[in-house]
Symmetry: C2
Subunit: 304 residues, 2 copies
């Protein structure tokens, strides 16, 4: 039986640029309900300066609450050493360190070069190891960047090699701005798999409608970890109505329909998505499955 893990990132990537705010109790309710629906990994927050992203000012409280949820890997994003320090001090057990493959995006996002961001990763790894914390890495703008345009494959693959050598427990290639095509996905993930034996994850946006086709392409190269955001939460602030992350419910439905077991209850997931629309009435949600429901002929991979 083929299995895959869909990691919910709505609480981080979905909320990151949202105008709406969720209070801590609602975030923890979301996390608990999503875990109860069968999700085993949730990216719960980002340790960034609260002055920059006030929606994550409760990061420590969210970590503490999520740590009480059984059978759940709660992931905290960190962008620098200080963030890693804070996350570990808050009790985070799994952190993801982000490096931008695009120089322009790196400067804009963390005000340092890609090389400088990479050079900080061994320090983050050392902190994590000392604390018994799992540390993975994500390469953002791996498929191109709105600021810089194209990002050479060689730049991304070199990062994969370095992050792997430094001990990253998993490496995610992120299509931060929705530039990837299935052809790009096949090429870059194949190249990455040649450079590391760590598990590779895929983080796709559906900005131009190719998100789920990209999931299939990544799956075909052997990827078994997919980030997704419930209701596609997290549209692009620069293109009103445009989509951000692929919708969790559509991604799970796609995988199950391909015979890939996710462990997720479709009904519970759709119910939670409807709840999300109540929590965030001013956010535009996307995704098709919640509107139409599963096909009458659909059965989950665990049944098929």
């Amino acid at each position: 039986m083929t299995t895959a893990c869909v990691r919910e990132v709505g609480l981080r990537d979905g909320l990151q640029l949202a105008a709406s705010r969720l209070d801590t109790d609602t975030k923890l309710d979301w996390i608990r309900q999503q875990a109860a629906a069968g999700f085993r990994e949730i990216e719960i927050t980002s340790f960034v300066p609260p002055s920059l992203l006030p929606q994550f000012s409760d990061a420590a409280e969210v970590v503490a609450g999520a740590n009480a949820v059984a059978d759940l890997t709660s992931v905290s994003l960190v962008l620098n050493v200080k963030g890693a320090d804070r996350a570990i001090a808050a009790g985070a057990r799994h952190i993801t360190y982000v490096v931008s493959a695009s120089e322009a995006h790196s400067q804009s996002n963390v005000r340092c070069s890609t090389q400088e961001a990479l050079d900080r990763f061994p320090i983050v790894m050392a902190l994590a190891r000392d604390a018994g914390v799992f540390a993975g890495a994500a390469i953002s703008t791996a498929f191109g960047c709105s600021l810089q345009g194209a990002v050479p494959d060689q730049q991304v693959l070199s990062l994969v090699s370095s992050l792997s050598e430094y001990g990253a427990g998993e490496i995610t290639l992120a299509d931060t701005v929705g530039f990837a095509s299935p052809r790009d996905v096949t090429r870059l993930f194949r190249g990455a798999a040649e450079r590391t034996e760590r598990p590779l994850g895929a983080h796709f946006h559906d900005t131009r409608g190719l998100g789920l086709a990209n999931v299939v392409a990544a799956l075909d190269t052997g990827v078994r970890h997919f980030d997704a955001s419930l209701g596609g939460l997290g549209g692009c602030p620069f293109a009103p109505g445009a989509s951000g992350n692929i919708a969790t419910e559509d991604c799970v439905y796609l995988l199950e329909s391909l015979g890939v077991h996710t462990g997720v209850s479709i009904d519970a997931m759709i119910a939670l998505r409807q709840q999300l629309a109540v929590w965030l009435p001013d956010e535009a949600l996307t995704g098709k499955l919640a509107l139409a429901g599963p096909a009458r002929t659909f059965s989950t991979a665990s049944v098929a």
Copy 2:
């Protein structure tokens, strides 16, 4: 160079269930602008009783107008012998005859069994041959049916064999209700290709978000003809907000990003899609590309 044909079906499948109406002049304007954007095939109307679908009461006028557009294959849908008669009398040069693979859908749609509908096809073929008209066939509900549920592959493949033997110039497998997964698409199109040497076409709906992933799966089996509807026009009347056909602009963008040449101008296509929103202000359009625009790194297959 790999090439594929995206056949616009918005004027037929898109308008079929729409509450809004387009007058004949606007339809012809749409057809001309879409042809000018590089589309070579457009399904322009359906020869059904005007009492059933008044939006197609101008079918003969639309055929006459479309016939004046250079370098365009204008396709008319027909559901029975009388429809074929009317289409040919109106000057149609390319007709598509529809057979439902689902018995329940066949009874509901054309009030006869699948076998009876199949038995009429040789009569339609004879009429078309006598008039020098190209006749293709489409198998609707090929991937399942809301009324009946599952449709056995064998039923669909048997229809492919029969329609091919009767001389259908092309055969389209239609996922009328959006039940297909990429796995289903691979299996059924491979089976169909074993049973006929006629060109196979794919007609996918995006009801559950899998439409473009299904296009990739069909492409990988050798399919080079794809139906699509501009702006995804043609939502499901039974599920408000749910999607109908895959959006033409996203389908073209996907194919071009895979290096498959469609001959379509992305800019002209997006401009026409914005015009469509003006023509049909009360219809919900879907599709992602028109909101976000092509990726900064995108180049059409003809350039790449």
